[in-house]
Amino acid sequence: MKYLLPVVLSLLTLSTTSCNEGWNKPDTTAYLLEIPPGFPPPDIAGDNPLTVEGILLGRQLFYDPTLSGDSTQSCAGCHVSAFGFTDSAVTFSTGIRGLPGGRNSMALHNLAWGAVFFWDGRAASLREQSLMPIQDALEMDASLAAVIERLKASDRYQKGFREAFGRNKIDEEHLGMAMEQFMLTIISGNSKFDQVAAGMASFTASEQRGILLFNGEVNPSSPNSGADCFHCHGGVLATNHKLMNNGLDFVLTDLGLGDVTGKASDNGKFKVPSLRNLAFTAPYMHDGRFNTLMGVLNFYNENVRSNSPNIDPSMGKFANGLGLNLQDKMDIIAFLNTLNDPNIGTDTLFQNPYQ
């Protein structure tokens, strides 16, 4: 009898600790992220391994308007696959209250290589990022608590969360983790540029000249002086993932990173976007001020504000203009168009699972 109490206590302890996690662990199928040739391996958080079940759940959530306050708008409402997962050619997206947002909808692709998210870098992970628009009054304007209750009331999501994460896992943390898993799978690496890099296609003369200008530094002493785009948009990912001031304005109406850190030296800095899929993602810049790529190039060619606070040193040589003529700009645009991936809008892995 004297041994009965310790045995009972031991059994209770086991049942509430390790054994509990053991029997609640779902039988998931691991998903191996397909990395395009030439892409460096991404550093993905180990506490949220990709599974078929988790990705499917995340895709369902991404396309589900019940995550918004009035159940009318999903994440996909402002991140449309046909537009490279930006909004449909609008400067600012409109939320459920009919109010416009303050920044242009960002393209979603190759997020597995990103370190921070949003134009101002305020989210350190995709799971963190995915919960913010849901709560933003200018966007989906919902309370997470209300969203969680809706999900719990759904048989589909009861099953989905159970299969992805186990029982009793419908909560904010796992909502973000599911969304993270899905967004990590939106990979874009099948453009003409990629085909050329793999030796399966060739640039036209204009595209070839364009890539030379794109990758040429601004250097009057060099016979290969170019547009210096590669400094911030180089490599297969077409971005350096940094937050920088590229000299758009002398007077800053949007502080960007500075609003997040509170540091004056961060004012005017925004995330350098990837230049992939530009044919689908107009308008351009954090505030969508340029409707065309020619507009972007004209800015860099002759309108960089060298006295913009905290302008990046790499923009220093733009103060005197790049000296690009019309043909130069057309060739650069021709090269940029080789970065467009037709699969981004058609790959069934990214499409609406409810259609």
Partner: protein, 251 residues
């Protein structure tokens, strides 16, 4: 069983591994933390202003990123005594302590040494290899360092950026040092006791970029280089970097 009988084996094992004097019997760990300074004064990136001791330039630093490779220990004659082949680090001087750290674990033979050596930039093989082969988190993975040129092939070995102020105004400077010929060896000669795990603070004197083997006045010598068609500016910066490092503290 008495308490002393329980702990005696453990104590014996500890003494066997470490020794009564705290010295390790096996490989030691070295943790190097780089500290950006300007002639001894701490550099606060994007904030502090530093007056050159030799010119009229006053500098603010925005970025000092380095790829360091092939760490080794030197003997009293300055010859390599213990080489850690394949070692690499990406040092982001403007970052936190962890961004400025190079730790070598269980790779250093314990003993007395005459200095340390490393290179700024990867060797030719790594510089021209496929960067997509480096695993996630490796210092040479382009996503980690953001220093791979892609198109030109190869890495930027050091990215040094900021502004310089003269009597006529403030302008940016940008020195991106790359290409095999600009790989530079750094030797720091100093008697060092590495018979136990050590933390080493290495000062990176940014003043040396402009006033070392060569005097560089950005407005005159050049304030921009990507290591080509620059009238030798990159090679001057490279030479100056050789003398920019010193051991401040070992504990």
């Amino acid at each position: 069983m008495k308490a002393s009988q329980k702990f005696l084996p453990l104590l014996s094992l500890a003494i066997l591994l470490v020794g009564c004097d705290g010295l390790k019997k096996g490989p030691v760990d070295i943790s190097i933390t780089f500290a950006p300074v300007f002639d001894g004064t701490e550099v606060v990136y994007e904030q502090s202003l530093h007056q050159s001791a030799t010119t009229n330039d006053a500098f603010t630093f925005v970025r000092s990123d380095l790829i360091l490779t092939d760490f080794s220990l030197l003997d009293e004659n300055g010859e390599v005594a213990n080489e850690i082949g394949g070692s690499a680090a990406y040092v982001h001087m403007a970052g936190d302590l962890s961004d400025r750290n190079w730790t070598l674990t269980d790779q250093i033979d314990p003993g007395h040494y005459g200095g340390i050596r490393f290179y700024i930039g990867p060797d030719t093989s790594a510089n021209h290899g496929d960067p997509s082969l480096w695993p996630a988190g490796h210092p040479l993975n382009p996503t980690v360092n953001g220093l791979h040129w892609g198109w030109a092939g190869g890495y930027i070995f050091s990215a040094l950026e900021g502004t310089y102020a003269t009597s006529t105004g403030t302008n940016p400077f940008l020195y991106h040092i790359g290409f095999d010929s600009n790989r530079v060896r750094v030797d720091i000669l100093q008697d060092i006791d590495f018979r136990r795990d050590r933390n080493v603070t290495v000062d990176f004197n940014l003043a040396n970029i402009f006033d070392g083997t060569h005097l560089i006045e950005p407005a005159i010598t050049g304030d921009f280089t990507h290591s080509t068609f620059d009238n030798g500016l990159a090679s001057k910066v490279r030479d100056n970097l050789m003398g920019a490092f010193s051991i401040k503290d070992i504990y």
